[in-house]
C-alpha cells in the first residue's frame, strides 16, 4: 500500500560543527523507538571509526522514524543527519536537495557561527521550511535569548517559535517532533501511477550488503526484482534488496513516492553510481531526468604515492571504493620521477584531505606519501590560451607565460570582539583584502578576500589558536585574480625534483627556496660526490646549498663472522636501492623527499 504523502516528512538537520546535530538525532531516534536503550550509543549515526574517534560527522546518514503525533496519525519521518564541517559541505548540499525541510540547530551557548550561516542559506536556496532549534539548554552557559536574537539579526530568520531543546537530556524533543509534523511540509508532488523516477542521493560499500544506494522516490515505486536503469550512466540492473535504516537496515517490500530508503542491485563498478543520477524503470522509463546535483568543486589538491610501488593498484582500488562513498573526492593517475606512480587528488578542504589520507591508511592498510597541498592555477599563455594547472610540476616554461591567476576565496569569520585584532593581522599577512566588518551582539563578522593558496596551509589552525577556538570560519570560491606567481623548482644534482615543485608568490620565493634547500641538505645523506641542491625560478638559481661528498664509510674489521653480517647489510642496501631515486649518478632515498614534504606542514 502506498504511503499517503500527507504523512511523510523529509528533513535534514543542519548546523555549525559540534552544535549537536548527531546528538539530537540520537534523541529523535530513541523517542520514536528506532533503537532500544541497550542498542543506543552516543551519536549512533556516526558509525565510522574515524567519526567516533574525532567526534565529528563526516558522512550524512538517513534514517526512517515512525512518529505518532498529537493529531493521532502516524508519520513517517526521514531524518538526514549532516556533517557540520565546511569540508563536507557536499554531503550537506546533496541532503538538502533531497528533502523539503531543515532543522537548524544552534548551540545556545555559542550562537550563530559561520557554518550556521552557510548552511541556512543553502537550505533557503532549496526552498526549505526551517525550524530553528536552540540546543544545549541544559548547560549553564546557555543563553537562549541571545541565540534567538542572533538568529534574527545575523540570519534574518524569525526565531520566535524556535524550539528550545537539549540533545543530551531530551528536553524539548517532543516539541521538536510536533514542530516537524506541523511546520514542515510533506513532499509536494509524487504520483504512484507515473513511471518510476528516483534520485540517487548517495552510495557506499557495505561489507554485508555490497554497494548500497540511497534513494529518494519522486514518482512510482522501487521494489525487489524490478529492472532499473540509471539514466546518466545508462547502467541497467535488477534490484535485489529494498530497505530503510531504522537506523539498523530493515528490508521492506517497496519504496513509494515521497519516501527515502536504500536499494542494492548487484553493482560492482563505481562508474555505475553517480550521485544525482535518476533511477527509472527499464521497461517503462520516465521521460525526463531530474536536474541532479551540482558537481563538487575540489579546492585543494595533493598527490598521493604509495611508499611501496607494488601498492599502486591497491591504491587505485581503494580510492575507487572511497569515491563510491564520498562523491566529493576526485583523483587521477600521476607519474612522478621522484616518487613514482601515484594519483593527483582533489579535496574540498584540508580536513577532507586529512580524513581521506587517514582512511586509506587504516581501512586499506596503505602506506602513502602525500605531497604538500596546492590549488588550481590558471596559466595564460602568450598566445592567449588559458590552461589549468593542477600540479606545480607541470608548469610551463615561463617564456610561454603571459601571466598566472590564482583562486581567491571569500571568507566569513565570526569572532568575539577581543580576537578581532589578531585575526585582522592574520588575514593581512595572508595577502587578504578586507571587504566588510560588522558587529552583531558583541561579535564581529569579518568578510575577507584571500588567496586560497594562503589558506590551504595552516590558516584554520592559526585562526583557531589566535581566537582560542572561538572564531568560526567559512569560505566560498570567489574567482581568480592575476598575481606575481612563479614556479619554484628544487633541483638535486642539476635535476628537478618534481614532487617538491611549488607555486609561490615572487616575494616569498627566495625565503621558501632557501628553507627547502637547507632542509634537504639535512635530510639527504652524504653521497659519493659533492651534490648541489638548488632552488630555481625558470633557469635562474635563487638559493643553493652544497652537500659535500662522503668523507668516510668503512668498518674497521671484516673477519670470518663479519662477512655474513655485512652481506646481510649489503642485501638490504640493494633492496633499498629500489626505493631510491636516481639523480644523475647518485641514489637518494625517497625518505629524504618524504621528510622534506612533511616538514612543509610546519
Amino acid at each position: 500500500m502506498t504511503q499517503d504523502l500527507k504523512y511523510i516528512r523529509n528533513f535534514a538537520i543542519i548546523a555549525h560543527i559540534d552544535h549537536g546535530k548527531s546528538t539530537l538525532a540520537d534523541r529523535l531516534i530513541q523517542t520514536c523507538g528506532g533503537l532500544t536503550e541497550r542498542e543506543m550509543s552516543a551519536q549512533v549515526l556516526d558509525s565510522m571509526d574515524i567519526e567516533r574517534e574525532r567526534g565529528i560527522t563526516i558522512k550524512a546518514q538517513t534514517v526512517r522514524l515512525l512518529y505518532t503525533a498529537k493529531d493521532g496519525h502516524e508519520y513517517q519521518l526521514n531524518l538526514m543527519d549532516t556533517p557540520g564541517h565546511v569540508d563536507f559541505s557536499y554531503e550537506v548540499s546533496r541532503s538538502l536537495a533531497s528533502c523539503e525541510g531543515s532543522i537548524l540547530v544552534v548551540d545556545s551557548t555559542q550562537g550563530v557561527e559561520a557554518q550556521t550561516l552557510a548552511n541556512v542559506y543553502q537550505a533557503i536556496d532549496n526552498n526549505h521550511e526551517i525550524i530553528p532549534a536552540l540546543n544545549k539548554v541544559d548547560l549553564p552557559a546557555s543563553d537562549v535569548e541571545k541565540a534567538r536574537q542572533e538568529i534574527e539579526d545575523v540570519i534574518g530568520l524569525d526565531a520566535s517559535e524556535a524550539v528550545e531543546c537539549s540533545g543530551k537530556t531530551g528536553i524539548g524533543i517532543d516539541d521538536l517532533l510536533e514542530a516537524i509534523v506541523t511546520k514542515l511540509p510533506p513532499p509536494s508532488e509524487g504520483d504512484a501511477e507515473k513511471p518510476t523516477k528516483a534520485l540517487l542521493i548517495d552510495s557506499w560499500y557495505d561489507a554485508y550488503l555490497g554497494v548500497v544506494i540511497l534513494v529518494r522516490i519522486i514518482d512510482g515505486h522501487l521494489k525487489k526484482g524490478q529492472k532499473i536503469k540509471f539514466m546518466n550512466t545508462r547502467a541497467e540492473r535488477e534490484i535485489d534488496r529494498v530497505g530503510v535504516f531504522s537506523p539498523k537496515p530493515v528490508m521492506i517490500d517497496e519504496l513509494g513516492p515521497g519516501e527515502m530508503g536504500f536499494i542494492t542491485a548487484g553493482i560492482k563498478d563505481i562508474e555505475d553510481t553517480l550521485v544525482g543520477d535518476t533511477i527509472t524503470d527499464m521497461r517503462k522509463p520516465c521521460d525526463t531526468a531530474l536536474p541532479g546535483f551540482k558537481p563538487s568543486v575540489p579546492m585543494v589538491f595533493c598527490s598521493l604515492f604509495p611508499v611501496d610501488m607494488g601498492d599502486y593498484e591497491d591504491l587505485r582500488d581503494s580510492l575507487g571504493k572511497l569515491k563510491l562513498n564520498d562523491a566529493s573526492l576526485h583523483f587521477e593517475p600521476e607519474q612522478s620521477q621522484a616518487l613514482g606512480m601515484g594519483f593527483r587528488c582533489g579535496f574540498l578542504g584540508l580536513l577532507h584531505m586529512e580524513i581521506i589520507q587517514e582512511r586509506l591508511g587504516r581501512e586499506f592498510d596503505l602506506d602513502l606519501i602525500p605531497t604538500a597541498p596546492s590549488v588550481v592555477y590558471h596559466i595564460y599563455r602568450t598566445n592567449g590560451e588559458m590552461v589549468e594547472l593542477y600540479n606545480p610540476a607541470d608548469m610551463l616554461d615561463p617564456v610561454y607565460i603571459e601571466h598566472i591567476e590564482e583562486p581567491w576565496i571569500k571568507a566569513t569569520i565570526l569572532t568575539p570582539d577581543e580576537y578581532l585584532g589578531g585575526l585582522l593581522q592574520l588575514c593581512q599577512e595572508r595577502r587578504g583584502v578586507q571587504i566588510d566588518l560588522t558587529y552583531a551582539g558583541g561579535r564581529a563578522m569579518l568578510v575577507y578576500r584571500l588567496p586560497l593558496n594562503e589558506v590551504v596551509f595552516d590558516f584554520y589552525d592559526r585562526l583557531k589558536s589566535i581566537s582560542r577556538g572561538y572564531a568560526s570560519f567559512d569560505y566560498e570560491l570567489d574567482g581568480y585574480d592575476k598575481n606575481n606567481l612563479v614556479k619554484l623548482e628544487i633541483r638535486v644534482n642539476q635535476e628537478p625534483v618534481d614532487a617538491l615543485a611549488m607555486i609561490v608568490h615572487r616575494d616569498n620565493a627566495e625565503s621558501r627556496g632557501r628553507q627547502m634547500c637547507e632542509r634537504l641538505k639535512e635530510l639527504i645523506p652524504r653521497q659519493m660526490f659533492k651534490i648541489a641542491i638548488q632552488a630555481a625560478i625558470g633557469g635562474k638559481v635563487i638559493a643553493a646549498e652544497h652537500l659535500s661528498a662522503l668523507r668516510k664509510d668503512v668498518t674497521a674489521k671484516c673477519y670470518g663472522g663479519d662477512v655474513s653480517r655485512k652481506k646481510k647489510l649489503l642485501d638490504k642496501q640493494k633492496k633499498g636501492k629500489a626505493k631510491m631515486r636516481q639523480y644523475g649518478n647518485v641514489d637518494i632515498p625517497q625518505s629524504a623527499f618524504i621528510n622534506a614534504l612533511k616538514m612543509g606542514d610546519e
Binding site: 652524504r526 659519493m528 660526490f529 662522503l550 668523507r551 668516510k552 664509510d553 668503512v554 668498518t555 674497521a556 674489521k557 671484516c558 673477519y559 670470518g560 663472522g561 662477512v563 655474513s564 655485512k566 652481506k567 649489503l570 642496501q573 640493494k574 633492496k575 636501492k577 629500489a578 649518478n585 641514489d587
Partner: protein
C-alpha cells in the same frame, strides 16, 4: 697467494675474564667448566669436517675469542695435532693465538710455542694507562711492554692491536702513541678505529649522550695519518686496518679476504666451506651450552650448512677483495663463483668511481685507492645493480 683446496681453520674460544665495553664478540665470562668435555667437542668437530672435506691442505690455524690464551697449552696442542693429523699441512702453516698482555698469560707464551703456536696476536689496544682503563682492559702499559718483550723473544712472528680515534684523543696525541709503538712491532700491526657496536656498554653510553665520537671528517684525518706513518716505517696497509712489511701479512685473514675456504669451530664461529661441488656458509650455535649439545648430537656445532648462490658468492668475494691492497680480479671472481660479473656490476658507475680516483680498473682487475678504502662500505652498494 693460495692454491686451490687450501683452507684455514678458525677455533673460537668464547671465554674472557671480563667483558670490554666496546666488544661485541660472542664471549662469556669464564665459568667453571669441564675442560675435558670442551676439548672433546673441539676435536669431534674437527674430525667431522675432516671427513666432510678430506684431502685439504691447511695453511692457517687461528685461535680467536674470547681469550684463547686462557686455554691450557696442552689443550691447544691437542687441537693443533688433531687438525694437522687429519688434513695435509702447508710447510708455511701459520698458527696464531690471540692473547691479552696480562701477567698470567705472558708466562704461558713459551708453553704455547712448544704446543705448536708460531704467531701471537696481542690485544694491546693502547700504550696509555688512562685509555686502557677507559677501554676496560685488565692490563697496564707496563704489562704491554713486558708482554711484547717476551713475545718478541719467544715468537718469530707476532702482531698486536691498537684502538684509535678514542673520545678526547687528538691527532698529535695519536701520532705520538703510534710512533712509540713502532719500535715494539715485528713487522705487523692491526690499527682499528674505535667503533661503537650495537648492544655494547659503549653503545648504551652513546645513547645516553655520555659518550661522543669524532665526526667523519676527523676520523678520515686519523685514518690518513695512521696510514702515512705506517708506510713511512715500512709497514704499508695491505688491508683497510692491517699494516705489514712484505711477508708479514696475516695469512689467516687473507684466507677470508681472498675467499678461500675456512672452517669455523666453536660457539658463534662462522665458516665458508666447499664440498660436494657446492659452497656453504656455516654458523655455530652461539651459546656455549647449545653449542656443546649440538656437537654431541650431530658431530659439529653448526645450525646447518646453507648453500651460497653464485651471486652471493660473487658479492662476498667483492666484499673481501675491495678491502685488500691487491684488489679483486673480476674474471677470477666469476670463475670462482660461477656468476657472470657483468650481470651484477654497473660498469658506468664503476667508471665514475675510477674518475673520482677511488678505484683503479684495468684489465678487469679492480683495486681500491686509499681514498676508496675510506669509503669502501659505500662502493659496493653503489656499483651493484639493483635487484
Amino acid at each position: 697467494m693460495f692454491k686451490e683446496g687450501q683452507i684455514g681453520v678458525y677455533i673460537h674460544w668464547p671465554f674472557c675474564l671480563s667483558k670490554c665495553p666496546y666488544c661485541d664478540f660472542n664471549v662469556y665470562l669464564r665459568r667453571e667448566h669441564d675442560a675435558q668435555d670442551w676439548l672433546k667437542a673441539y676435536l669431534q668437530s674437527i674430525r667431522t669436517y675432516q671427513s666432510l672435506m678430506p684431502g685439504r691442505e691447511v695453511v692457517s690455524i687461528y685461535f680467536g675469542g674470547g681469550t684463547p690464551s686462557l686455554m691450557a697449552p696442552n689443550e691447544v696442542r691437542a687441537i693443533i695435532d688433531e687438525v694437522t693429523g687429519g688434513w695435509g699441512v702447508s710447510d708455511q702453516v701459520e698458527i696464531t693465538l690471540e692473547a691479552n698482555p696480562t701477567s698470567t698469560e705472558m708466562n704461558k707464551f713459551e708453553a704455547f710455542r712448544q704446543a705448536g703456536v708460531n704467531r701471537l696476536s696481542l690485544g694491546v689496544q693502547s700504550l696509555r694507562d688512562e685509555a686502557l682503563s677507559f677501554l676496560g682492559r685488565l692490563h697496564s702499559s707496563d704489562d704491554v711492554r713486558r708482554a711484547l718483550g717476551i713475545a718478541s723473544k719467544v715468537f718469530d712472528r707476532f702482531t698486536f692491536d691498537l684502538i684509535y680515534a678514542r673520545p678526547g684523543q687528538t691527532l698529535t696525541g695519536w701520532k705520538q702513541e703510534l710512533q712509540e709503538a713502532i719500535p715494539l712491532m715485528k713487522g705487523h700491526l692491526s690499527a682499528y678505529q674505535l667503533t661503537i657496536k650495537p648492544g655494547t656498554a659503549f653503545a648504551r653510553q652513546v645513547d645516553r649522550g655520555d659518550l661522543k665520537l669524532a665526526d667523519d671528517d676527523c676520523l678520515a684525518d686519523f685514518y690518513t695519518m695512521t696510514s702515512d706513518v705506517m708506510t713511512d716505517h715500512g709497514m704499508p696497509p695491505y688491508e683497510v686496518s692491517n699494516y705489514g712489511a712484505a711477508g708479514q701479512e696475516s695469512r689467516h685473514n687473507m684466507v677470508y679476504w681472498l675467499y678461500q675456504d675456512y672452517v669455523g669451530i666453536g660457539p658463534g664461529a662462522h665458516g665458508r666451506i666447499g664440498y660436494a661441488g657446492q659452497k656453504f656458509s656455516t654458523e655455530d650455535y652461539k651459546r656455549p651450552g647449545d653449542w656443546m649439545a649440538a656437537v654431541q648430537r650431530q658431530g659439529h656445532g653448526a645450525h646447518g650448512h646453507a648453500p651460497i648462490s653464485p651471486q652471493d658468492q660473487f658479492e662476498e668475494i667483492l666484499m673481501g677483495g675491495l678491502r685488500v691492497k691487491t684488489g679483486v680480479d673480476l674474471d677470477r671472481a666469476e670463475l670462482k663463483s660461477g656468476y657472470t660479473w657483468c650481470d651484477g656490476i654497473d660498469t658506468q658507475r664503476l667508471q665514475v668511481l675510477v674518475e673520482q680516483g677511488w678505484l683503479s680498473f684495468e684489465r678487469n682487475h679492480l683495486s681500491p685507492s686509499r681514498e676508496g678504502w675510506l669509503r669502501v662500505d659505500s662502493i659496493l652498494p653503489y656499483i651493484l645493480k639493483a635487484p
